[in-house]
Amino acid sequence: MRNLLFNWRDPKIYLPLILLIFLLILPIFLPTYFLHIMVTIFVFAFLSVAWNIIGGYAGQLSLGNAAFFGLGAYGAVLFTHYFNIPPWIGGVIIGGAAALFLSLLMGWACFRLRGPYFAISSLAIGEVMRLLFLHQRKITFGAEGVTVPFKGDSLLYFQFSSKVPYYYIALVMLLLGIYICWKMERSRLGYYLIAINQNQDAAEAVGINSVRTKQVALSLSALLTAMGGVFYAQYIFFIDPDFVFSLGLSIEFALMAIVGGVGSVFGPVIGAFLLRPAMEITNALLGATYMGVHLIVYGGLLITVVLLKPEGLIGWLARRYETLLKLLPGLKEKE
């Protein structure tokens, strides 16, 4: 446990602190475009941490988290558009509730079973959501998408003209997500998820309700992902079903966690910090001329990582980090 009141001289404490301070002052001198990239990194890291709760810890491979993401996004935008209700209610509460309900439905259908059912069903539900929102154009505007009407800087309506407030909100969101995941890992829920993953029969024999445990993980993941959707809508000011409900998005959440390390708190964050900038660069260089190249790279990366290093990079990186800590000056905790 980090005891921030003591021992400033321990690199285990001051190094992350320095990093945090660096991130906090970054907006002062970073140009807008790079600020934007940082925001997307934070958001995707958050969404990947959310995926990791169900995909990594609970071992239920969701290929449809975009369904929750889209619900949050559309909740935020549509309720503002039609009823002038702030996204805190439309997105966070109503969109979140919808995502929660959907997660309960999926859990009910799939968690009593063992096998690939959840992966398949989650894929299907992402697609179904996409088609639903695509074709109910009277309500959702279909493929044209919806724009968030700009009412000027407002915390109530969660919109700002500058990227800077978004940066800090995204950072806080990410830190919150990490904190939630970290706490969960150390709680009974976290232990239960690991037990179920290793030996479900033994887990049931010692009183673990595996259906309910998985359900809690999924619902948590769904809620957090929906929040990410709300943020995204309010940041980009435009959403359409083909993006917010896309399979590509769902896979991206998973891919970042897999590259970084499933089942670890920081794995998804590392994955996001590596993949997002890479994707932005690829897009910038190849852009619209070569559509879909970045997805080929994602697919290839997924195959490669899964075949060669399924645990992700976190193990290797953690060891490098430990080495770095030892080399840094300062009073260290007794070994």
Binding site: P116, A124, L131, M291, G292, G299, P310
Partner: protein
């Protein structure tokens, strides 16, 4: 109010399409049943078959029904290559590895198609595309009818193959228990390879026979495969008989959905059926309760 012949038209459409779903689902089932891999890239095998058909027609004027003879072996070979390069490595791995391997493959294939062929919709022209059969007051389009016949014949052939031939029996043995099959002198690696090749060929040939009335674009497989997953799960993962019966059921559900709810609601109806099946009869309508 609703006229009897509109309903009948929808039912017939559904059955015609359903046979096609059955055939693709049989391919999926063979791969899952024998190799225990959920092939998320199965739709892309269909897509490759469709693009191959298009190019054979565009450059050589070959009619899709003839192209079957080329595409079948072609997709079989492609399936084998994919098995040897990728699937073989994960046969004993965790579900996690298997799923993300095929998901990654699907991404790569879809977007490779996007890169090479653009997102445009392409279709072939045939001399019979406008021909129609009139029966019992409804009209059945010739291409759909041919596809239906092709699907039924192929499904029966495959069932016979699995039941009667030595290779087919070996595949069923491996599907039940590959370790025991191995002890009985069957080479599981070879059987896995044949299964993937066969599943892929089936998907490719299906793509071929639907080209006369469908169009091809990079994401066409994705739409199909979700429907087929619904079929395969409702049937009971690994049940060929189930796939045969559930295909038409979902075809009809899709038709009725389009009729009563609206265009493109077919998938939503299918998904609802899937949810109901999972909740109330998880082993599938005809499955062996492989839980």
């Amino acid at each position: 109010m609703l006229k009897y012949d509109i309903l009948l038209q929808a039912l017939v459409s559904g059955i015609l399409m359903g046979a096609v779903y059955s055939l693709v689902s049989i391919g999926l089932t063979i791969i899952y049943g024998v190799v225990r891999i959920v092939n998320f890239a199965h739709g892309e095998f269909l897509m490759i078959g469709m693009y191959a058909t298009y190019f054979l027609w565009a450059y050589f004027g070959i009619d899709p029904l003839v192209a079957m003879i080329i595409n079948g072996p072609l997709l079989y070979v492609i399936g084998i290559l994919i098995y040897k390069s990728l699937f073989r490595r994960v046969v004993l791995a965790s579900d996690f590895t298997k799923i993300f391997l095929t998901v990654g493959l699907s991404l790569v294939l879809q977007n490779l198609a996007l890169l090479l062929f653009t997102a445009n919709y392409w279709s072939v022209r045939t001399f019979y595309e406008k021909m129609v059969i009139n029966l019992w007051g409804i009209s059945i389009s010739y291409p759909r009818f041919i596809a239906f016949c092709g699907a039924v014949i192929l499904s029966l052939l495959i069932s016979l193959f699995l039941l009667k031939t030595d290779l087919g029996k070996a595949m069923r043995a491996v599907a039940q228990n590959w370790e025991v099959a191995m002890l009985m002198g069957i080479n599981p690696d070879r059987i896995f390879m044949v299964a993937v090749g066969l599943g892929s060929a089936v998907a490719g040939v299906t793509g071929t026979i639907i080209m006369p009335y469908f169009y091809v674009f990079p994401m066409v497989g994705a739409a199909f495969v979700v429907m087929c997953f619904a079929v395969v799960i409702s049937a009971g993962l690994g049940s060929i008989k189930g796939a045969l019966f559930c295909g038409p059921i979902f075809g009809i559900a899709e038709s009725l959905g389009i009729l009563f709810v609206g265009a493109d609601s077919g998938l939503i109806v299918a998904f609802l059926i899937l949810l109901v099946v999972l909740i109330f009869r998880p082993s599938g309508l005809m499955g062996k309760g492989k839980l």
